[in-house]
Symmetry: C2
Subunit: 264 residues, 2 copies
């Protein structure tokens, strides 16, 4: 294995059947080995609403109480993961769906209650990702599809941020080979102005990012995503791209695309 693609697929892409099917076809066409990482987007919120389980967000982060954890596990590890796996299998890609508990591939620790109690939220550390397990699966031709549910090794499932998880997997795998980390979502890339599609930044350095963050151009959900993305570069990942899901084939084949490439 010379090169590995770690691909995080974002919420809205998963929710829309036609964009998910297009994405699956493009993934199936890739020649590099890859690891897919996904969360569940708004499906969890919708299901919680239908079940009348109140949802609490603190600074954009979901508080995972016991009922919400159950929903997250059902949606991420159940419906979305198995839909992706069955879709990839239909295209001839030998996918295997994994939560962190499966093969003990990703462990985490319950987030400390410092001021805010995030409930069953699992934080990753340096030893969380079992890189050898992923390496073995990839070497025998499997495509791991990883949902953002981890476990503490003591029987407790935990909800983990999917962007952070993708960054941690990419960083760990860079011990074994060249890794490209791709955040694929519904927008074209990192934009100077969220309302202007033409404002995508093709190349973003860490110092420019700091500048744009301080000036308020980059805000809310993009901040943790970019923090995770830059962290991966610092930890040895070769290339990080943030782009529209539909552009994944071009990106991986080094063809022109409209996304954002990061550099330290």
């Amino acid at each position: 294995m010379n090169k590995l693609q770690v691909i995080k697929i974002g919420g809205r892409v998963i929710e829309d059947e036609s964009s998910m099917n297009k994405f699956i076809r493009e993934i199936a066409n890739l020649s590099d080995p890859c690891i897919l990482v996904h969360g569940g987007g708004s499906m969890t919120t919708e299901l919680a609403l239908k079940l009348k389980i109140p949802q609490q967000l603190v600074e954009g982060r979901r508080v995972t109480d016991a009922d919400t954890l159950k929903i997250a596990v059902m949606v991420y590890a159940g419906w979305i993961n198995k839909q992706l796996v069955a879709g990839l299998q239909a295209m001839g890609t030998d996918a295997i769906g994994l939560s962190g508990a499966d093969m003990n591939c990703i462990s985490s620790t319950l987030r400390k209650k410092e001021g805010v109690d995030y409930g069953f939220a699992g934080d990753l550390n340096e030893k969380s990702v079992n890189g050898e397990r992923f390496k073995s699966l990839l070497e025998i031709g499997f495509t791991p599809v990883v949902c953002s549910i981890t476990h503490d090794g003591k029987g407790q499932l935990l909800n983990t941020n999917a962007d952070t998880l993708a960054s941690a997997i990419a960083s760990e795998m860079s011990r074994f080979c060249e890794v490209q980390l791709n955040y694929c979502f519904e927008k074209q890339g990192v934009m100077r102005d969220m309302t202007d599609k033409g404002s995508v930044i093709p190349q973003l350095t860490k110092s420019e990012y700091s500048h744009l963050k301080n000036s308020g151009c980059i805000h809310s959900g993009m901040i943790p995503k970019l923090d995770n993305a830059f962290l991966a570069l610092e930890k040895g990942v070769e290339k990080v791209i943030i782009a529209e899901a539909g552009a994944i084939e071009n990106i991986i084949q080094n063809k022109p695309h409209h996304g954002t490439e990061l550099s330290i």
Copy 2:
């Protein structure tokens, strides 16, 4: 691998936290390699009720419409599967949760609409179970935990009867080694009189079964379970036991237990 235990865990055992934890501890203590198979019991029905999705049963079999399939996948492949896997990992058993789509380990075909339309129900055939895949996982020390969700190989997930699935897995695996199939549920075994705990039949032959079925002693849900169980014996499975989940350790260690052993 000389001997393999295929263990089907029944609905009520899964639903009750303390009985599930006890079961997990007993599984973790087994010395033989094993494959666990599970469905989801009444959790699916309860969730459907909460979501106001009407459930239809025809001759004791669930009709799986699109909404019900989604619930079944969430409950079986999501919540129950990952709870079992995390629980086993906590006990030092290297479990891996699988739906039929994962590693393409179990494929099925949409049930033909002959009179009754069972919706997204998947029937198994001679080629459904990918025995080589299970063999490889077992040989490197993994414990597969298989939920009763399969796929048609064309991207469609399908709901499959867990008793039938356990029988098909056991039969296929008997090509490679000696297999014991254990149906573990909340009752003590096959009973002559459902209301009398003392009426468990220790040994049941196929002809006695026919007799008890014709006389009405054995009825409803026990019939497909026993049909599947006898089919496994006919297809090369060495031993089939139907017993209480709590007895699994004794059964596998050939110690006295109160279950029913079948013979052709």
